[in-house]
């Protein structure tokens, strides 16, 4: 890895494209962290994995269709809608299976994930046999390659991320209430079914946007890890969301720079390992829940408890 280039990339001095890519990844990370907080509170982590993986067949099909129609097959202009369609289909299939059978959600989601992604692999294996380096663009969507983003793609990604972030901020309070206290949410007039659908749509949006950046396979980590880490630092849902957003943004920015300096590596694994370090570190040292301070916290809590109940 080129450290000098990494430093320059951090200072946004690594070429005209990089500034846009860094911005795009930064806002993507922020949106992922924000939406991820709701997903975590609502226990939807596995659904995000399904959404990420299930984009593959749609993307591959769109690729083939564009090729057949003589269009540029690697353009996100049709790859994204293709991915969105198959992800939506997967959600529909999962919902149907969950409603109709007694299988546990984890099994259903895992099965849907595997079969949709398998279909995607089937199509991809065909694309890989086509002449030319046609499939290279598609391979990049598996694990992400930020350094290969064109400016137009970066701008589009930025737009998607901003959209997701804006919607999440707009409905943030309601989504948080829903996550913490669904009963109260219903009483307060929020409609849980609708909010859930909105949440799923937001997750899908983020998963789609994440395709060129971290890829289909690792999109889930971008969404879940910042939120999980934030949870270790705060018990307040609101603050947790803020921390997750910030963490995601920082990771995105750093990840873009790393990717620029090491273009032979896929961006997805780089970014996710960064987030993983943050998670592991927080497990150890975060004051609220880190292990280091557990003994002290318990002792303090016990003192308070005994004092409250002391006999007169």
């Amino acid at each position: 890895m080129d450290f000098e280039l990494f430093w320059r990339a951090l200072c946004l001095d690594a070429g005209p494209n990089h500034a846009w890519v860094a911005a795009a990844l930064c806002f993507l990370g922020a949106a992922a962290g924000q939406v991820g907080s709701f997903a975590l509170l609502r226990r939807r982590a596995l659904l995000v994995d399904v959404l990420g993986h299930a984009t593959l067949p749609g993307v591959a099909a769109a690729f083939l269709l564009a090729l057949a129609l003589g269009l540029e097959p690697r353009s996100l202009a049709w790859l994204w809608p293709g991915g969105a369609l198959s992800a939506a289909l997967a959600t529909y299939a999962a919902d149907w299976l969950l409603a109709r059978t007694r299988l546990e959600p984890d099994a259903v989601l895992g099965a849907v994930l595997a079969s949709f992604f398998g279909l995607g692999l089937l199509l991809l294996s065909h694309i890989q046999t086509l002449p030319g380096a046609a499939s290279a663009g598609l391979d990049r969507l598996l694990f992400g390659q930020a350094a290969a983003l064109q400016r137009s793609d970066a701008v589009a990604l930025l737009a998607l991320a901003l959209l997701a972030g804006a919607l999440a901020s707009l409905y943030g309070r309601r989504l948080r209430t829903l996550a913490f206290d669904p009963g109260f949410a219903r009483l307060a007039g929020f409609r849980p079914e609708r909010l859930d659908r909105l949440l799923h749509a937001l997750l899908g949006l983020v998963a789609l946007a994440a395709l060129p950046a971290v890829g289909a396979v690792l999109a889930v980590a971008l969404v879940v890890l910042p939120a999980a880490t934030a949870r270790l630092w705060s018990d307040s849902a609101r603050r947790m969301t803020h921390i997750a957003t910030g963490l995601g943004a920082a990771a995105g920015y750093l990840g873009a720079a790393l990717s620029r300096a090491a273009p032979e590596l896929s961006t997805g694994p780089l970014l996710v390992c960064l987030l993983g370090l943050a998670f592991a570190g927080s497990l150890a040292v975060a004051p609220r829940h880190g292990l280091l301070w557990r003994g002290l916290r318990r002792r303090a809590a016990l003192e308070r408890w005994r004092a409250e109940r002391a006999l007169p």
Binding site: L40, R43, A45, L46, D49, A93, W96, L97, R100, T101, R102, L103, E104, D106, A107, V108, G110, A111, L113, A114, S115, F116, F117, G118, L119, G120, L121, L122, L123, L124, S125, H126, T129, D139, L142, F143, V217, L218, V220, A221, V224, L225, A228, R231, L232, D235, L265, S266, G268, P269, L270, V272, C273, L275, G276, F279, L283, H289, L291, R294
Partner: protein
């Protein structure tokens, strides 16, 4: 329809089908055990988390022997299990959230190692991780009847075939030995413990078994095949019967069916119908698995929610 070239089939397809069938049989039992314990998420976790272990084993020893990679992948699976338990106990996150955070992380780490170490070496290419190598298993098949009857010819089968057969036999043996204990601990681990059935021991050993099978599946067919074969045959069986033993038998049947049908689809049927080259067998098997599940859910005798 052209006449089949049997010798070519034997050389190119027989190892894959043998391997796949053995693994499917092992995976169906492992998957049934996991589903019965409502640990379907762990199948997902195992399928992904074994990667860094496999890569590290290869990097450390330089060998690609299935047993070596098994040791690596198994260790990674165990680390995942321990890390999940330790974290869930201490953090305000439930086990599902912890697992959902950890297994992609493990996978990403494995990919990073792979990409960092491969430097263009195609054999280690990350896409291998997804597609597996089912279609690439080949051997020098015997050319005449004498050759087929000679045990020495079978020694030429790829190591993975023996490895898979071993996994199958091992898991079948384990089920036989531990069947009663697992029946009890799957239902009620606390009760099993009070009865002195040592659920901790048996569950841990079963976990190791499942992880070994996951690594085997991973080596042969990649992440997606591992997940599909662990979950779908077991899920279909669960929808069709209320009896314990029958679930295992049905799952085994579905597993083998999927291997043969999926392989045939990807390697023969689709290329013949659409004029493409032979496609990813893992992809074919997994796609078909999804169709099977939908079919059983739609047309099977209706199993209402309990």
């Amino acid at each position: 329809m052209n006449s089949w070239d049997w010798s070519r089939l034997a050389a190119l397809d027989l190892p894959a089908l043998l391997c796949g069938s053995a693994l499917a049989l092992a995976a169906s039992s492992a998957g049934t055990l996991l589903l019965l314990r409502r640990q379907g998420l762990f199948a997902d976790g195992l399928s992904h988390a074994v990667l860094p272990g496999v890569v590290l084993a290869f990097l450390w020893t330089g060998s690609r022997a299935p047993a070596v990679l098994l040791a690596g992948g198994l260790s990674a699976g165990l680390v995942l299990a321990l890390a999940t338990r330790a974290t869930a106990r201490r953090a305000p996150l439930d086990a599902g959230a912890v697992l959902g955070a950890l297994y992609p992380l493990f996978f990403a780490f494995g990919l990073l190692l792979l990409e960092g170490a491969s430097g263009g070496d195609l054999d280690l290419a990350p896409s291998h991780v997804l597609f597996g190598q089912l279609e690439q298993l080949a051997w020098r098949a015997p050319s005449d009847l004498e050759g087929w009857l000679d045990p020495a010819s079978y020694r030429r089968l790829p190591g993975l075939v023996w490895h898979s057969l071993g996994l199958w036999l091992g898991s079948a043996l384990w089920l036989r030995l531990a069947g009663r204990a697992l029946f009890a601990s799957g239902f009620d681990p606390v009760g099993a413990r009070l009865l002195g059935l040592r659920p901790g021991l048996f569950e841990a050993a079963t976990l190791v078994c499942c992880a070994a099978i996951a690594v085997g599946l991973f080596q042969v067919g990649g992440v997606v095949l591992a997940l599909a074969l662990l979950l779908v045959p077991a899920a279909c069986a669960r929808l069709l019967t209320d009896r314990y033993r029958t679930q295992f038998r049905l799952a085994a049947l579905f597993g083998v069916l999927l291997i043969w049908a999926g392989y045939g689809l990807a390697v023969f049927l689709l290329p013949a119908l659409l004029g493409t080259q032979s496609l990813s067998a893992a992809g074919g098997i997994s796609s078909l698995a999804g169709l099977l599940l939908l079919g059983v859910a739609r047309f099977g005798p209706r199993r209402a929610r309990v």
